[in-house]
């Protein structure tokens, strides 16, 4: 049985195909269209999923969508009625799209997919819950979902057992922790639904001096429930988010690309403190009402890896699982799984053990690409040679574009579409930020470490964290050894890797350790700022030639940037969010 899950029309459109309960393929639309956070119907992602499964639309048994469109429309109309006449510009802008496409989803699916059977429409937060619980290692678990907004819900508490999920409590629009975080993101001059993680990265540079101000704009109960003071927000009737009163409280909003001051850093720190306070109180309440020591989290706020890393220290939960695509893209996976397991009553077949669910390219394909474009390259004769050479290049402080296997699922690069470099080099962070990624200098880089060594380097209680969803303190005596991945507060958002998960990637780390004595590399996403992570060999090559990446290791091939001057170009002018 083939079930296709779809998410689209808000941000991060994606598709996921499961066969008999096993995930065959999943990918975000942005990787194919090259439009970051693409919102459009994910036709290219769907085409990829079908191709990977070797089927056509005719073989699809069910399609599942990640929300109830009419319920969402009801909420929007309620907003306009409540906020009349101030909501007119938003009404004028949003309605044409709703009337032409979003409300006609069955017709859109029939036309674009040529799929004529019925579609399952599943509540948004239920798809979030499913995306985490139904592929978790738990037979039963407490489930927290927190995002900007679904139909009406912004936060839910639930419980899952076997293949069933029950949502028990909820908070509704406009009271949303995700929208609070996005409001501050906008206030600090960053782009919403794109740069919230930058605010998280900025927070350690500040102190929570605005904590009391935040307590004026969000009322938090001991059970973790909260309500926003809507005098400080305008997102319920305008495209902008903070109100004038918000600026009176926190000072003027920062314009994009302008200098970040201590005030901005303190605001970020205060926001992070408030977010953690809400999360921990909610989680403690969730533990109390469910009695489960297992926790699944989903929704965009589940990508707050700093908060995630503190959950066990601040709540009774013992085990945590989060889908790497915890945001709206993951809704497509949750929809497909919920349809198969819960609606259709099938038992769960799979734990999520590999994020490599996107397109891969064979060595023949890569070779044909290189030869057609007259790109000077070298082909490794063995895995050992590839691993040894890559590790040597990294040790010599080269920046490596690493393009291997199937593309990752979710917003993080996890060793398939990564840029790798030397974590021991004090200059490397600045080199990467300035010459390769063209991004803000405050942003840290993340470490990848061999799994067996993780406990020696990080203050954590379990050695495997393969999806880069948790930030932990680096052991104090080790921080000076890996300056390029140690954030200003001594923490790192790590990925652990073992040989079974990704043998070449693991091999490079262990080989690097022979040179340096340190089993850690910088792992950052293979893209320039403002672009989605690369998907194809062409995009990988183009990214290298437009940045300071020295070598590209693509399949069995090595390509040196300097050997191909005819293809050089400068990406810096295009790098923007």
């Amino acid at each position: 049985m083939h079930v296709l899950g779809i998410s689209c029309y808000y941000h991060d459109s994606a598709a996921c195909l499961i066969k008999d309960g096993l995930i065959i393929a999943a990918a975000e639309e942005e990787r194919f269209t090259r439009k970051k956070h693409d919102t459009s119907f994910p036709i290219k992602a769907i085409e990829y999923c079908l191709k990977e499964a070797g089927i056509t639309v005719k073989e699809l048994n069910h399609v599942a969508f990640y929300e109830k469109p009419l319920v969402k429309f009801e909420r929007l109309i309620n907003q306009h009625i409540e906020m009349f006449p101030r909501s007119f510009p938003m009404f004028f802008q949003a309605m044409p799209n709703w009337l032409s496409e979003k409300l006609r989803l069955p017709a859109v699916i029939r036309k674009k997919l040529k799929y004529k059977k019925s579609v399952f429409y599943i509540e948004h937060h239920m798809t979030h819950a499913a995306s985490s619980f139904l592929v978790s290692p738990f037979k039963e678990a407490a489930i927290l979902t927190v995002d900007g907004i679904g139909e009406w819900d912004s936060t839910t508490l639930g419980y899952g057992k076997e293949n069933d999920i029950r949502i028990i409590k909820r908070l509704k629009f406009p009271h949303s922790l995700g929208l609070l975080y996005s409001t501050v993101t906008a206030f600090l001059g960053f782009s919403v639904n794109n740069s919230e993680y930058k605010v998280m990265g900025l927070a350690p540079y500040g102190k929570p001096n605005y904590y009391e101000e935040f307590k004026k704009i969000i009322d938090i109960k001991e059970d973790g429930s909260y309500a926003l003071n809507m005098d400080y927000f305008v997102f319920h009737y305008k495209k902008t988010m903070p109100s004038k009163k918000f600026e009176e409280l926190f000072g003027p909003a920062r314009t994009k690309e302008s200098l970040l001051t201590q005030r901005h850093k303190d605001i970020a720190a205060s926001l992070q403190k408030i977010t953690e306070e809400v999360m921990f109180k909610m989680l403690n309440h969730l533990h109390k009402i469910t009695g489960s020591d297992n926790l699944c989290i989903a929704g965009g706020v589940a990508l707050n890896s700093v908060a995630n890393g503190k959950i066990k220290a601040n709540t009774p939960f013992k085990e945590i699982f989060i889908n790497p695509a915890a945001g709206d893209a993951g809704g497509s996976m949750g929809a497909a799984l919920y349809a198969y397991n819960t609606i259709l009553g099938n038992s769960r077949k799979q734990e999520f053990n590999s994020p490599y669910l996107g397109p891969g390219f064979s060595n023949n394909y890569i070779q044909a690409f290189l030869e057609k474009n007259e790109i000077i390259h070298y082909r490794f004769k063995s895995d050992e040679e590839l691993i040894k050479k890559t590790a040597e290049l990294i040790f010599k402080n080269n920046v490596i574009g690493w393009f291997q296997g199937r593309m990752e699922w979710g917003p993080r690069a996890l060793g398939s579409r990564s840029i790798l470099s030397n974590a021991c080099n004090t200059q490397m962070k600045d080199i990467l930020n300035a010459k390769v990624k063209h991004r803000e200098m405050f942003r840290p880089f993340a470490p990848v470490i061999s799994e067996e060594d993780a406990l020696d380097w990080f203050e954590m209680d379990k050695k495997d964290e393969p999806f880069m969803l948790f930030v932990y303190p680096i052991k104090e005596e080790k921080r000076k050894l890996i300056p390029a991945v140690t954030h200003v507060d001594g923490s790192g958002r790590l990925q652990t890797i073992n040989k079974t998960q990704n043998s070449r990637y693991y091999g490079v780390i262990k080989e690097f350790e022979k040179y340096s004595g340190i089993p850690i590399l910088i792992n950052t996403s293979f893209n320039i700022r403002g672009e989605p992570i690369v998907c194809t060999p062409y995009e990988a090559y183009k990214c290298m030639m437009g940045t300071g990446i020295d070598y590209l290791i693509m399949g069995d091939f090595l390509i040196k940037r300097e050997d191909n001057p005819q293809h050089l170009w400068d990406s810096e002018s295009l790098a923007s969010d």
Binding site: K68, P69, L70, V71, E74, I77, N78, Q79, H80, I81, E82, M83, F84, P85, F88, F91, F92, M95, P96, L103, L105, P106, S118, V119, F120, Y121, I122, E123, M126, L157, G158, D164, I165, R166, I167, I168, K169, R170, L171, K172, F173, P174, H175, D219, K221, D223, S225, Y226, A227, M230, H236, A339, T342, I343, L344
Partner: protein, 85 residues
């Protein structure tokens, strides 16, 4: 078929301009319709609601107790999921 595609090519500059014009007219009509809907339907509902004291968004929930809404979602019969609501 050859003559047909030749004719299409010949008239393409005109047909593309007509199509463009049609899209502009559509935008104008959409604008007018949206204005009418907003300033009649939405306005009427909003004003009536304000007179009757009905709220469509809970902007100021009761602060004296928990904000959690105890509303369960459990697995429903299959047919319920085929609806967009």
């Amino acid at each position: 078929m050859g003559i047909w595609s030749d004719l299409k090519e010949l008239f393409e500059p005109i047909t593309s301009k007509i199509e463009w014009f049609g899209k502009q007219i559509q935008k104008v009509v959409n604008c007018i319709l949206l204005l009418i809907v907003y300033f009649t339907g939405v306005a009427f509902t909003s004003i009536s609601a304000k007179i009757m004291g009905k709220k469509f968004l809970d902007l100021n929930p009761d602060r004296s107790s928990s904000y959690w809404i105890e509303e369960e979602t459990i697995t429903k019969p299959r047919e319920e999921y085929k609806r967009m609501f």
